[in-house]
C-alpha cells in the first residue's frame, strides 16, 4: 500500500482507539454526573474512578497521536480544520483541561466539598467535551471545512444538523461504551447490584445511540448526500451493516444474557463499524476538492514517520498489553491482600 494510505489508516486506527478507550473514559464521567447524590452515587462513582484511574492518561495519548499524525501527514488539511473549527476545538481543549485536572484533584482530595466540586467539574466536562469533538467530526463529514486557512464559516461549520447529531452521538456512544465496560468490571468485582445497575444503563444508552444513528442517517441524506450514498449503497455499506448487526447483537446479549465480556466486543464492533464506514465513505476526499494524494506530505516525511512509529510500536504494544493486563487481572484477585478493590467501599455492597 502506498505511504499516504498507510499513514491515513494509522491515523484512523488512532481515532478508533481514542473513541473506544478515551471515549469510554468520557462516558465514565457521564455516569458520574448521573449517579445521583453524594451518598447514593458513591458506589458507582467509586467504580468509575477505579476503572479509569490507572489508564486514562494512556488512553488520552491517542488524541495527541491523532493530532500529531494529522499535521505531519496532511498538514494543509490539519491547518484548514483547526483554523475554521477553532471555536469547538478551543472548547474541546478547555473541556479536556477541566476534566483531566479535576479528576486528578478529586483523587488527591479528602474533604467532601472538594471531592464534590472537582467531581462536578469532571463530570460536566465529560459531557461537553465529546459533544464538541462530535461537532468537529460532523463538520468534516458534511464537507463544511473548505481548504485554506479559516475559509469556512466559523459558526455554521459546526452548528448544523450533521454536527449536532454527531455531537449527541459522540456523547451517547461514550456513555454506552462506558456502561458496557463498567457492567463487566462490576461483575468481575463480584458486585451483582452494581452490575445490574450498569446493565440497565447500558441498555438504555444502547437504545438511544441506535435511535440517534438512525436519525443521523436521515440527516446525512439531506445534509451530506455523497457520504450518505457511499454509506448506503457504496463501498461503506458492509461496514455500516456490521455496525448495525453488532449493535443489535449487543443489545440482545445485554437484555437476555450475562455474557458481559462478549458485549464488550460487540459494542466495540458497532462503534468500529460506524467509524470505519465513515472513513471509507469519505475516502479519498478529505476536504471538498482535496484528495488524500493532494494533501499528503512528501514521501520522505511519511517514510520517516512510519518507520519511527514501527520501531515505537515494538516498545508500545507490549507495554500497553502489560498495563491493561495488570489492572484487569488485578481485579480478579482483588479480594486478596493486593487490595486494589479498596478504591470502592465494599462494605456497603449489600445495600
Amino acid at each position: 500500500m502506498p505511504l499516504p494510505e498507510i499513514l491515513l489508516g494509522l491515523l484512523w486506527i488512532g481515532v478508533t482507539a481514542y473513541v473506544l478507550f478515551g471515549g469510554a473514559d468520557f462516558g465514565g464521567g457521564v455516569w458520574d454526573l448521573l449517579a445521583g447524590g453524594a451518598e447514593r452515587g458513591a458506589r458507582q462513582r467509586a467504580l468509575v474512578e477505579h476503572a479509569i484511574g490507572p489508564v486514562w492518561e494512556a488512553n488520552h495519548v491517542w488524541l495527541i497521536f491523532v493530532i500529531v499524525l494529522a499535521w505531519t501527514g496532511v498538514p494543509s488539511v490539519f491547518a484548514a480544520v483547526a483554523s475554521t473549527l477553532y471555536i469547538p476545538l478551543t472548547l474541546t481543549a478547555l473541556g479536556i483541561i477541566a476534566r483531566g485536572s479535576a479528576f486528578a484533584f478529586r483523587k488527591a482530595s479528602t474533604l467532601l466539598w472538594q471531592r464534590r466540586l472537582f467531581g462536578a467539574a469532571f463530570a460536566f466536562s465529560s459531557v461537553v467535551t465529546p459533544f464538541f469533538l462530535g461537532t468537529v467530526a460532523g463538520a468534516i463529514a458534511s464537507g463544511r471545512v473548505p481548504p485554506g486557512i479559516a475559509e469556512g464559516d466559523l459558526a455554521a461549520s459546526w452548528l448544523n444538523p450533521t454536527s449536532l447529531v454527531s455531537g449527541a452521538l459522540a456523547v451517547g456512544t461514550a456513555a454506552y461504551l462506558a456502561a458496557v465496560y463498567l457492567t463487566r468490571d462490576a461483575q468481575r468485582a463480584g458486585d451483582a447490584g452494581l452490575a445490574a445497575a450498569f446493565r440497565r444503563r447500558a441498555l438504555a444508552a444502547g437504545v438511544v445511540v441506535g435511535g440517534l444513528s438512525a436519525v443521523g442517517l436521515v440527516v446525512l441524506r439531506a445534509d451530506a448526500p455523497r457520504l450518505f450514498d457511499r454509506l448506503t449503497t457504496g463501498a461503506a455499506l458492509p461496514l455500516l451493516a456490521l455496525s448495525v448487526a453488532a449493535g443489535v447483537v449487543s443489545l440482545a446479549l445485554l437484555a437476555w444474557t450475562r455474557a458481559f465480556l462478549a458485549v464488550r466486543v460487540t459494542a466495540a464492533l458497532a462503534v468500529v463499524g460506524l467509524l470505519w464506514g465513515w472513513g471509507v465513505g469519505q475516502y479519498p476526499r478529505l476536504l471538498p476538492g482535496v484528495t488524500l494524494r493532494e494533501a499528503a506530505a512528501t514521501d520522505a516525511v511519511l517514510a520517516a514517520t512510519l518507520g519511527a512509529l514501527a520501531v515505537g510500536a515494538v516498545l508500545l504494544v507490549p507495554s500497553l498489553v502489560w498495563l491493561y493486563a495488570t489492572f484487569q487481572r488485578g481485579d480478579g484477585q482483588g479480594e486478596g491482600e493486593s487490595g486494589d478493590a479498596g478504591a470502592f467501599p465494599r462494605a456497603e455492597n449489600n445495600s
Binding site: 500529531v68 501527514g73 471555536i87 483523587k107 479528602t110 520522505a300 508500545l316 486494589d340
Partner: protein, 454 residues
C-alpha cells in the same frame, strides 16, 4: 509593540494569539519540568529506601509519587492544549511546515505513551509488584520524560535554525526530516533545557522541605527530603552554567540579531563591552554598567572580536530589545545566584558533613525553587522573543502564521480564565498534600478508603 504595527494583518488577533501561546507554554513548561525531573528524584528515594530500609525515605518516595500523579495529569492536559494550539493559533505554520517538524512530534507521541503507561503501572501497582520490579517500572518514565523533552525542543530548535527542507512558491517540495530534527540549534538547546528541568524539579522539591525546616521541623524526614532533591540540583547547576555558555556561543555564531538584542548592542563594533542592566531607548542602550571587551571576549574568546549590532537589519526586524536583554540578565543572574547557594552547601558539607548552620541558607534555599522557575521562564523568553519578528527564523514571520479568523481575543480570555482557576486549584491541592499528616500506603489506589499512618 513595534513589530506588531509594522506588519499588522490583524493586530488584535496576533497579540491575542501570542499571549495565549505564551501563557499556555509558560504554564505547561513548569509542570513539564517537574514531570521530567521528579520521577528520577523519586526513584532515587525509592531505591535508597529499599536499600537501607529507612522508613523516612520510603515515605518520601510515596509522597512524591502521589504529587507526581497530580502533576502528570495537569501536565498531560496542559500539553494537549499546546498541540491543539499549534493548529488553532498558527495554522500558517502548521499548514506549511507541519510535515517538516512532524517527525520529532511523532516520536514525542511514542514517548508520551510510554510515560503514561508506566506511570499508570508505577503509581497504581505499587503494592502489587515486588519492590525491585516496581523500581524498574519507574525507569521507563524517566527515560521517556527526558526523551519527550528532547523531541519537543528539537522542534523548537528547528524554528531557530530551520534546515532540512526546500520550498517553491511557499509550498514545501522536499523534506529531510532527520536533518530538520538534528538542526544546528538542537544540541545546545536540548541539553540546556533538560538540565533546566532537573534544576527546576530539584530546587522546587527541596524548597518545600527548606520551608518546613525553617518552621522548626528539623527531623530526619525533612532533612532527607531536602537533601535528595537539593543534591540532584546541586550537581547539575555548575554543568548548566557551562551549557548556557555553549548556548550563548551558538547564538553569537548563528543568530547575531538575537545576540545583539540580548546585549543591547545597536552598532556593529569591535571590542564590545558586556552590558549589565540598562534600558534601550531610541536605538541606544542607556544606564548600563559596562565591562570593557566583555562581550567580545565571552562570545568569541577574543577581546577584539566584531559583534554585529541590531542596526544591521531594518528596525522592523528588531526583536523587542528590552524584553530580551532583561530576560537574559535575569536568567544569567539567577544561574550564578543558584551556583553560589550550591557552593555554600558544598563548602559546609565538606567541612562538617552538615547543612550550613545559618538560617539564611534555608531562607535562600526556600527561594531557590522559585528562582529556578524564573530562570526557566526568562530563558524561554530570550529564545522565543529574541527570535521575533520571525516565527521560523528568516523564513516565516509570526504575523504570517497566525489564524486570521476573528475573535481569537475571546479564545484567549477563556483560556486565561481557565488557567487562573487551574493555577489556584493546583497550588491548593499540592499545598494540602504537603501538609496532610496521614499518608496512604500506595500513592493512588488506597488513598480514598483506608489510611495507614506511618
Amino acid at each position: 509593540m513595534d513589530v506588531l504595527v509594522a506588519d499588522a494583518v490583524n493586530p488584535h488577533n496576533l497579540m491575542a494569539a501570542r499571549l495565549q501561546m505564551a501563557l499556555s507554554l509558560g504554564w505547561h513548561i513548569i509542570v513539564a519540568c517537574l514531570g521530567v525531573g521528579m520521577p528520577a528524584i523519586t526513584l532515587i528515594a525509592e531505591w535508597r529506601g529499599h536499600r537501607t530500609g529507612d522508613p523516612h525515605v520510603q515515605l518520601l518516595a510515596r509522597r512524591w509519587a502521589k504529587a507526581m500523579g497530580v502533576l502528570f495529569a495537569v501536565g498531560a492536559v496542559s500539553g494537549t492544549i499546546l498541540s491543539f494550539e499549534m493548529g488553532l493559533l498558527w495554522p500558517g505554520l502548521m499548514g506549511t511546515y507541519g510535515e517538516v517538524i512532524g517527525l520529532p512530534f511523532a516520536l514525542e507521541g511514542i514517548a508520551f505513551f510510554i510515560e503514561a503507561i508506566f506511570l499508570g503501572i508505577y503509581l497504581y501497582a505499587w503494592d502489587r509488584l515486588p519492590p525491585v520490579p516496581h523500581l524498574l517500572s519507574g525507569i521507563p518514565i524517566v527515560i521517556a520524560g527526558v526523551a519527550s523533552a528532547f523531541f519537543v525542543v528539537t522542534a523548537n530548535a528547528w524554528m531557530q535554525q530551520p534546515t532540512g527542507f526546500d520550498t517553491r512558491e511557499g509550498r514545501v517540495t522536499a523534506v529531510e526530516p532527520w536533518a530538520a530534527m538534528f538542526n544546528p540549534a538542537t544540541p545546545p538547546q536540548t541539553v540546556h533545557m533538560i538540565l533546566a528541568a532537573f534544576m527546576v524539579a530539584g530546587f522546587s522539591m527541596a524548597a518545600v522541605y527548606a520551608v518546613a525546616m525553617l518552621r522548626g521541623r528539623r527531623d530526619r524526614y525533612h532533612r532527607v527530603g531536602f537533601l535528595i532533591p537539593f543534591t540532584v540540583a546541586a550537581v547539575i547547576t555548575p554543568v548548566q552554567i557551562g551549557v548556557g555558555d555553549w548556548a550563548a556561543h551558538f547564538v553569537a555564531e548563528n543568530q547575531p540579531v538575537k545576540l545583539a538584542a540580548m546585549e543591547g548592542v545597536f552598532e556593529t563594533e569591535r571590542g564590545v563591552p558586556l552590558h549589565l542592566g540598562g534600558v534601550a531607548v531610541d536605538g541606544e542602550l542607556r544606564y548600563a554598567l559596562e565591562i570593557p571587551y566583555g562581550l567580545s571576549l565571552l562570545a568569541h574568546w577574543d577581546p577584539n572580536a566584531e559583534i554585529a549590532g541590531l542596526n544591521e537589519v531594518p528596525t522592523a526586524e528588531h526583536p523587542p530589545v528590552n524584553v530580551v536583554h532583561w530576560a537574559f540578565q535575569v536568567m544569567v543572574g539567577l544561574g550564578f545566584a543558584l551556583l553560589a547557594l550550591v557552593a555554600w552547601q558544598w563548602w559546609a558539607w565538606w567541612r562538617r558533613r552538615d547543612l550550613p548552620r545559618s538560617p539564611w541558607f534555608l531562607r535562600a534555599a526556600a527561594l531557590a525553587g522559585a528562582a529556578a522557575v524564573v530562570a526557566l521562564e526568562a530563558g524561554w523568553t530570550v529564545t522565543e522573543v529574541g527570535r521575533q519578528p520571525w516565527l521560523v527564523y528568516g523564513v516565516m514571520r509570526t504575523s504570517e502564521a497566525v489564524n486570521p479568523a476573528p475573535g481569537l481575543v475571546y479564545g484567549f480570555a477563556g483560556v486565561a480564565a481557565v488557567y487562573a482557576v487551574l493555577t489556584v486549584a493546583t497550588v491548593y491541592v499540592l499545598r494540602r498534600m504537603a501538609r496532610e499528616k496521614p499518608v496512604p500506603v500506595a500513592p493512588q489506589e488506597r488513598d480514598v478508603s483506608d489510611y495507614k499512618v506511618v
